[in-house]
Amino acid sequence: MTKSELVDIVAEAHGQITRREAEVVVNEVIHAISGALSEGERVELRGFGSFTVKKRDPRVGRNPKTGESVHVPAKVVPHFKPGKELRERVDATS
């Protein structure tokens, strides 16, 4: 499923909004999550999962091609943990 397929489904499910508005909704949902994460805030979507930001310490890495040591600075990375309902529903069909 791609973003545009998701937009189509949302527009079909809600007759009162246009496809264009459904697109705004999907984009706003994504924008809200990434905005909160970039502020270091946790996003908890009950039944779906939670997004958090994890800190990575600086480390000395190595260029695998040249063997040269490189300094990898500290950084923050997004992390998603599926919620109980999503976890169970996905596993139930396996």
Binding site: E21, V25, S34, S94
Partner: protein, 94 residues
């Protein structure tokens, strides 16, 4: 950030009632869940990909009792964030 806060952003952006805004946010998440449940990956460009991975059975250990156990094969959801989201987090963290 929670679903209610995201619904509020939608409410302010589009001429929908608070109730409808909350329902649409729920639809967005539900449709993503359904796709994942059906074994389909969800790709939201500019944000990230939710992917289904099949895990093989493996031997584990109950860390509390030290007992050897078999971890059954299962199906899990993983999230791979897009380069764009990673960059946004690095900028926002400063």
């Amino acid at each position: 950030m929670t679903k209610a806060e995201i619904a509020n952003i939608i409410y302010e952006r589009i001429g929908l009632s608070k109730k409808e805004s909350a329902q649409i946010v729920e639809t967005v998440l539900n449709e993503m869940k359904q796709a994942l449940e059906a074994g389909e990956d969800v790709k939201l460009s500019g944000f990230g990909h939710f992917m289904i991975r099949e895990k093989h059975a493996r031997r584990g250990r109950n860390p509390k009792t030290g007992e050897d156990i078999t971890i059954e094969p299962r199906r899990v959801v993983t999230f791979r964030s897009s380069q764009l989201l990673k960059e946004k987090l690095l900028e926002g963290g400063e």
